[in-house]
Amino acid sequence: MNLTALEPQALEIIKRYDEPRAAMLPLLWLVQTNVGHIPSEAECWVGGLLGVALSHVREVVSFYSMFRTREAGRHELRVCTSLPCMLRGAGDVLAQIEERLHIRPRETTPDGELTLTEVECLCACEIAPAGQLDEQFVGPLDRTTIDAIESDAVAPYTGSARIDEAHPFVSTDGPVISTRFRNTGGTWWDAYIADGGYVAARKALSSMTSSQIVDEVSKANLRGLGGAGFPTGRKWSFIPKASLKPRYLVVNADEGEPGTFKDRYILERDPHALLEGMIIAAYAIGSHKAYVYIRGEYFRPAERFARAVAEAYERGWLGKNIQGRGFDLDVVIHRGAGAYICGEETALLTSIEGGKGFPKLKPPFPAISGLFQCPTIVNNVETLACVPFILREGADRFAALGTPKQGGTRLFSLCGRVNRPGLYEAPVGITLRELIDRHAQGVRRGHTLKAVIPGGISAKVLTAEEIDVAMDFDSLQAAGTMAGSGGVIVMDDSASMIEALQSAAKFFAHESCGQCSPCREGTGWIHRIMRRIARGEGRLHDLDDLLAIARAMEGKTICVFADAAAWPVQSYITKFRAEFEEHITTRRGAETTHVDEARACPP
């Protein structure tokens, strides 16, 4: 392995970043892409280039799931085992794959071709049970797909994939975000311009001031669609006007919440919408450098977004003196490497800075001291993708689409045991019932709805009686849950709440960053109790213990991951206590859920 050959590329990468240490993740990716894994010499090489102690390089390598320190197969098949995929039979699928390939997860086939790994949510829940073969998402993993994988294993993604791509339902009618989603290969410059692209950005740069833009966005009632629902305009106004430090706009494209897959579609089918929103936002907050953090598993989305960025540079919409308005903006695409916690805004910043995804202590808040200790605004992809519409069509029009406190539409990711999983754009005030019954065509014939998680796995569950609730942030909060990322996970009567909670517990235990004690120990503890209950060795007091642990974790940690880990425990056990008690008292082992492909979706 010749690392010196990589040096020119490495130096070019380091130049892109404000501090050399921030080149840590891209350099590690450079090594792994070229060498296949990250051997010890490579760690020394990277450490030397960045002036970082070896122990800290190893910290980063060991933290992110996608980095490998040992040689692996030429190809990698990642099988998702998070809740939405488990609901559609991922457990069985994994067992089948293991049997056919004769290897367990983390092992490689004897011919060195394929390594099998078990991963948490790939955010491809609309094609559940999902997997990823090298860079391509594959799913649903039915017999045909597994056959194809086994026999052909595998041309790395070149655009001419051997594995056929599924075509789940995706909204294409807008009115705000999905208008260009019918371009499955991506909406590129000419098509985007023809559809009214960059009109909003031109308006912003030529005739609006920062405060005007902020006011307009506030008037539109745009709320953060990554999950927190914080009013976007207000967030932008937190940047201290007097600060002489550089300001950063950071885009959170580290979509990771199980049940959600919306940002991926924006990146793949309409990247310019995001880019235009970014330009407007950067202008509004006075930022001249934007970092886009795209999760490691999103290979094609990152490529497509990079293409859009290149187009924008060519056309004078990025770089120096954009459109002659005297405004500079550079965009750096930064790839994650497999850590859900990097979706937390301050963990994302730490990750860009070259460290493990450790959330930062607050205070100080990112708007005051964020990336490289400078004022920073972190926004979600979807949130920014709404901004061009707001400036082009008017804040009132956007606001009118939604509720009095939350404007516009959003992309709802429907998955789990519905007849038509997919991505649905709808006004934020739509009810959950409408989403499930009218859009996703309800649950399978012969089955009844049992439970729905309305906002990604962290959201508290709603029973079948509670789905007449509007899907905006405030209504769902009043109903005791949250709108979160808009990932709707549907469970019917064939789903076991014990298995669901075990899957959720496994997810949180796997993804906890481990920085602070309540979360680190609590998530692991909860997972171990759930495994024991699922094995049939539970006791009734375990349920009260789980509730006590969840309660003890809440409100004591650096970030809200611990709270998010606690909510499923609290809501599933409280609302489905009888089922848990019955499982424990009858000492059943966990039933593996079977997915009969023929009957999973209606003809």
């Binding site: 122990s55 800290h56 190893r58 850590a339 205070p363 920085q515 004690s517 409100g555 004591k556």
Partner: protein
């Protein structure tokens, strides 16, 4: 300056300080693991949770800046509950190692559980297994299972020793502290991570299993390893000779001093105390045979009275040379000056050549003597004065008839045969020191003297700070403090000194040597005092 209320008590705390610091000023102890005043804030242990009025969530005291009008409760019901919850999480996977763990007795998990916990544990799962008893360096042992991941060691090696050995690998509850595979913890301050580790994850290999912590007694003193004079606490056991092969000292820990060493000390000083219990001179010897102090003092004084007198055989005066040591205390050097230089007109020096050791820009000084500066101030290392090499040369040429060497081994200056010749030619050759060496072997009188831990006194460090050394235990066997021997000889020589203790000697010293003016043991206290001038030797006043 913001005023806040903590547990009903008001305090003004500087802007920018945190609640945990403000509470400490009030004497309110908020439990903490990851917080250390000498390191950056990590805020990850979450045990310093406090309730701040008007804030629905508990806050961590170490990262909450004080604000005017803030009202804090450190042990309200909510805060107590929060703390107990955090303790339960920390102890969930913690191994039941107390019987075998050296930290037992000074472990913050134990202490905080007794003070703030006392709950019934609910964890019934299999605890996570990690590596145990891993030697990460020559001085430190790591046990990953016991680690609570407070990251103090990581921050220490990043911020203080700046060597970056420690890291926390993996994620979630698989996280473990460690070094890069194949690397060792070998920076010169590695022992400090044992001090700061609140639990038994990092323990001292040198101290390992020697004694239980509650057997130890403690005495404050100052390290004599170099001219920095780091403040330390010496931990020793006197009543259990079966431990530690009978050696009295078990370990040395740094003592906080904002002006000298903050919370740290170097490894050389920390582990360099073996000579205090091994290889000591324990008996007075006369020409190699045992003798008593009575005999020694009498015999030596007899010769000393002849100093200055005319030797009838040779026709010249008897001359005395004294090689003092910059390892002696100021009191002893002062006595040497008064007795030998002033009263007896001897050739006295404290300039002994010592190969300059390594130094750095932190705590390690190249000068490995603790009191060179004191010797200079007292006037024993003048440029005009002789140095040890000169005195030895004069002795070999026959110009000196008596020689008293304090602690220094002359074979560093001359060959063995010359030493023998010197011993034969002198009328009086006294060696007084703590440990045996060839010079003691061929001296006429070998006097066993006390180590710096066995006597009171003061040192002046390289920065002009005078600090008290403390007496931990009485001198070993027959050894005596140098000052006591000197006072006795002075008494026999009828020099009329009224002093009876180091404190009194220091009073005289303070009156006589200007930089020490106005100082007393009380004023020096436990943290020392800065001397008036920047210690130019010429300012030494003569009484």
């Amino acid at each position: 300056m913001p005023t806040l209320t903590i547990d009903g008590r008001q305090i003004d705390s500087p802007d920018g300080s945190t609640v945990i610091q403000a509470a400490e000023t009030l004497g309110i102890f908020i439990p903490r693991y990851c917080y250390h005043p000498g390191l950056s804030i990590a805020g990850n242990c979450r045990i310093c949770l406090i309730e701040v009025e008007k804030n629905p969530k508990l806050q961590i005291a170490c990262n909450t800046p004080v604000a005017d009008g803030m009202v804090v409760h450190t042990s309200s019901v909510k805060a107590d509950e929060g703390r107990r919850a955090v303790l339960e999480f920390l102890l969930a996977n913690h191994p039941l190692d107390c019987p075998v763990c050296d930290q037992s007795g000074e472990c913050d998990l134990q202490n905080f559980y007794m003070n703030f916990g006392l709950y019934d544990p609910r964890f019934r799962e299999q605890k996570i297994k990690k590596k145990k008893a891993v030697a990460v360096g020559p001085h430190v042992m790591l046990d990953q299972e016991r680690c609570i991941l407070c990251s103090r060691c990581v921050r220490f090696t990043d911020e203080i020793s700046k060597t970056g050995e420690f890291g926390i690998f993996n994620r979630g509850d698989r996280a473990e502290v460690g070094l890069y595979p194949g690397q060792q913890l070998d920076n010169p301050y590695s022992g400090n991570v044992v001090d700061i580790c609140p639990v038994g994850a990092l323990t001292d290999r040198d101290f390992r299993f020697k004694a239980r912590v509650w057997y130890l007694s403690s005495a404050p003193t100052v390290c004599n390893g170099c001219a920095q004079g780091c403040n330390v606490d010496v931990h020793y056991v006197l009543d259990r000779p079966h431990l530690n092969d009978g050696a009295r000292i078990l370990r040395v820990k740094p003592r906080y001093n904002a002006d000298v060493n903050q919370w740290w000390m170097c490894d050389e000083g920390r582990y360099g105390f073996g000579w205090i219990d091994k290889g000591r001179l324990t008996k007075v010897r006369r020409q190699g045979a045992g003798a008593t102090w009575e005999q020694a003092v009498a015999g030596i004084t007899e010769e000393l009275t002849k100093v200055g007198e005319r030797d009838p055989e040779r026709g010249t005066c008897l001359r005395l040379g004294v090689i003092a040591s910059p390892q002696l205390t100021n009191e002893e050097l002062f006595l040497i000056r008064e007795i030998f230089q002033r009263a007896l007109g001897a050739r006295v020096t404290a300039s002994v050549p010592m190969p300059a050791g390594n130094s750095d820009n932190f705590l390690i000084r190249a000068d490995k003597n603790p009191n060179t500066h004191g010797a200079a101030l007292i006037g024993l290392t003048d440029a005009t004065a002789p140095d040890a090499a000169a005195i030895v040369a004069e002795t070999l040429e026959g110009q000196l008839d008596a020689l008293w060497v304090f602690g220094y081994d002359l074979t560093k200056l001359v060959a063995d045969e010359d030493l023998q010749r010197l011993s034969r030619s002198l009328r009086l050759f006294v060696f007084s020191g703590t440990n045996d060496n060839p010079t003691a072997g061929c001296s006429h009188w070998a006097l066993p003297t006390a180590a710096y831990l066995e006597k009171e006194g003061t040192f002046v460090n390289a920065h002009g700070r005078v600090q008290r050394i403390g007496r931990a235990f009485p001198p070993l066997s027959d050894s005596r403090e140098d000052w006591r021997v000197l006072l006795e000889i002075a008494g026999r020589l009828n020099l009329g000194f009224a002093w009876r203790s180091p404190e009194e000697i220091f009073q005289a010293l303070a009156r006589s040597v200007t930089p020490f003016a106005g100082l007393t043991y009380e004023r020096i206290g436990l943290h020392g005092a800065s001397l008036m001038t920047d210690a130019s030797v010429a300012e030494v006043a003569v009484t």
